[in-house]
């Protein structure tokens, strides 16, 4: 079956402005050859530390930025080179929910109009039909119909996120990109929004690219998970395989760093040394070699490829290649 989203060899390099780096010209290699696919009704979780390129992947897929190389296919159709006018038809099928519900909603529009806007822009239905659809969406995401006349600042963080979800659903998309959609929410409210997203997925067979840095959240919502480090995917696997039998040393370190869930599980754990290196001059060979506890000489010079085993569990590590 054709995947809903198919990304191949995606690269995004940002030129460095001269002001930042004197005369030395260079580029931020934000995303450096990323490939993945998402099937119908599937959630791919995308995790990694700050600056590894998660949002850049999301923005490239949404065509909010121009990729430097690679291709993006939506429902089988190559949208990489489409001009804005030609994109219009595809925009309906792909929607986004951002982390910060405060800044992603127009503060001067009523909640009802925020949700109706995409319908109006696409000329879908007459006024009455639009109102009816908005009311239904409000009900579906757990907002009261009378809240349609309120402004974003009159909503709590979780309610604003529901509003963002209602708006994203208005056009009946097949793919929703969530860029840290629950990261700013309190635990109790976060649980409400995660459950809502999972319910809606079942109901509408939605596909999600779910970007997050919280591994617990990602484990809950994802069917498959991709781990990024410095612009590359270093491991991708079905959820259970990734969390129970990670293959890449970086994934292991990420999991080890997550706080325990009960005080009796406290342990001396593997703590990664140092910080993530700069994406302007990423390390040679394997990009993780400067922090990898098991690196060998070969890792400095030779870049490991992302090799999948027969279960679709892929990792990019010289020492952890699948048994043949």
């Amino acid at each position: 079956m054709t995947p809903v989203l198919d990304v191949a060899g995606l690269v995004k390099h940002y030129p460095l402005s001269a002001a930042w780096f004197g005369r030395a010209r260079g580029q931020v290699r934000a995303v450096d050859g990323v490939s993945f696919a998402i099937g119908e009704g599937e959630t791919l979780g995308l995790v990694g530390e700050s600056g590894c390129g998660k949002s850049t992947v999301g923005k490239a897929v949404l065509k909010l930025i121009e990729p430097s190389a690679g291709s993006i296919r939506l429902n089988g159709e190559d949208i990489t080179a489409l001009k804005p006018a030609a994109m219009v038809a595809h925009r309906r099928r792909m929607q986004v929910i951002f982390q910060d519900p405060y800044s992603s909603l127009n503060p001067r529009m009523t909640a009802g109009n925020i949700v109706a806007e995409p319908l109006i822009n696409f000329g879908i239905g007459n006024r009455a039909e639009q109102q009816e659809r908005v009311a239904a969406l409000f009900g579906r995401v757990g907002l009261r119909p009378d809240q349609r006349d309120n402004y974003p600042h009159e909503f709590s963080g979780g309610q604003r996120q529901r509003l963002g979800i209602a708006r994203a659903l208005a056009l009946g998309p097949s793919l929703i990109i969530g860029d840290e959609p629950v990261s700013a929410l309190d635990v109790s409210v976060q649980a409400q929004v995660i459950n809502l997203m999972m319910d809606l997925q079942e109901e509408y067979r939605l596909s999600y690219l779910f970007i997050a840095h919280d591994l617990g959240v990602v484990e809950h919502i994802s069917h498959r998970v991709a781990v990024m480090y410095l612009g590359k995917i270093v491991e991708v696997a079905p959820r259970a395989a990734l969390f129970e039998a990670p293959r890449h040393p970086y994934t292991e370190a990420l999991l080890a760093a997550v706080p325990v869930s009960h005080p009796r599980q406290r342990r001396r754990r593997l703590v990664l040394k140092g910080d993530v290196p700069s994406p302007i001059n990423p390390p040679s060979g394997c990009r993780f070699h400067t922090r990898c506890p098991i690196a060998v000489e070969r890792c400095r010079s030779e870049e490991p490829l992302l090799v999948a085993d027969t279960d679709g569990h892929a990792a990019a590590c010289h020492l952890r290649e699948p048994a043949r």
């Binding site: 109790s188 649980a191 591994l215 484990e219 990420l254 009960h262 140092g274």
Partner: protein, 337 residues
């Protein structure tokens, strides 16, 4: 535990009420009758969701409430027996940074952007220890080493913006512990950091605490951080303490419906088990300070709420050992069973 560790608490807060003056006579109460204590070498975690009054509790202890409206309306803050609510502002300045240090979520707020890292640390040392400048710079270098900043000589010459977030937080920890404070208040010190960096910082706080015997009050909204760090835990909801216990007891027997809800709502690793499952939801939202309900503040969201809960606020009662809870229904469970 050594004999010292079970001695008198370093900090005792009794009946703290923190309020904001409003135009309409009645002040807005943000922290309501909070009591806590922490002993030498011990870590007390304060946990609760956004707006429950965690930061204001720390700021009250240091008397750094937002001016002009914030004030301590009632209560005592005893540091080794001395009531900080009563001392003069000059005495308070001597307490801050020496007897009590604080680190914040955003390290930039405690660093001066236009002064090099080395000078900032050296100045802190100078103010409190009165060493000469060269000795202070030596101390600064030693401290960067102690918090395991790579290339410490180079970092001394750099400005805060040239450091990563994790390195900046290590610098603020170095500064906070420079004068071996009796008490460290850490307000969400790792919330803005990635998990691998969070793990480094939590390890660092633990190691330094073991060396200095500093009492730590660690504020967080993350029960995972509590499970990693706390000896004792205080759960806050809407400005009040709703539950307090030793950390294992709290995780084994969470008793307040809010604490139970929080634990069930939190996605944790391995929690998904075999398949994706729904998380437990706590319906509704935290009440705003202006609209705090009469009776138990959790009642509008509580599945167990009774008429009495909506009328009358439950008192905090002991339910065995050092475990206490403020709930009409669940506090009695053990007794009834």
């Amino acid at each position: 535990m050594t004999g010292l560790a079970v001695s008198q608490p370093v900090l005792v807060v009794e009946g703290l009420r923190t309020e904001f003056a409003t135009g309409e006579g009645h002040p807005m109460v943000a922290v309501d009758g909070l009591s806590l204590y922490v002993r030498r070498g011990e870590t007390l975690c304060i946990v609760g969701e956004s707006g429950c009054g965690k930061s204001l509790t720390a700021l009250s202890i240091l008397r750094l409430l937002p001016r002009p409206y914030g004030r301590i309306g009632a209560g005592r803050v005893l540091l080794d027996g001395q009531d900080l609510v009563q001392v003069t502002e000059a005495e308070m300045r001597a307490v801050r940074g020496r007897a009590i240090s604080m680190i914040f979520q955003e390290p930039m707020s405690s660093l001066n952007p236009v002064i090099t890292i080395g000078r900032q640390i050296a100045e802190t040392v100078m103010v409190h220890e009165g060493l000469d400048w060269a000795d202070c710079m030596d101390r600064a270098l030693a401290m960067l080493r102690q918090v395991r900043i790579p290339e410490p000589e180079r970092r001394l010459q750099e400005y805060p913006h040239q450091l990563s977030g994790g390195m900046r937080q290590r610098v603020t920890i170095a500064m906070a512990l420079a004068c071996r404070p009796r008490l460290l208040l850490a307000d969400e010190p790792t919330t803005a950091l990635d998990v691998t960096i969070q793990a480094q910082i939590l390890d660092l706080i633990r190691d330094l605490q073991a060396k200095t015997g500093t009492a730590v009050v660690l504020i967080t909204h993350d029960l995972g951080v509590v499970a990693e760090m706390a000896e004792r835990v205080l759960v806050m909801y809407a400005g009040t303490k709703v539950e307090e216990a030793g950390v294992e007891e709290l995780f084994d027997n969470p008793t307040h419906p809010y604490t139970r809800g929080l634990m069930a709502a939190m996605p944790h690793l391995g929690g998904a088990g075999g398949g994706r499952r729904r998380l437990h939801e706590i319906e509704g939202v935290v009440p705003s300070l202006m609209a705090r309900p009469a009776g138990c503040a959790f009642a509008p969201r509580c599945e167990l709420a009774t008429e009495r809960c909506r009328r009358e606020a439950p008192p905090l009662v002991g339910i065995g050992g050092t475990h206490s809870v403020a709930c009409w229904v669940t506090a009695g469970e053990g007794v009834l069973a």
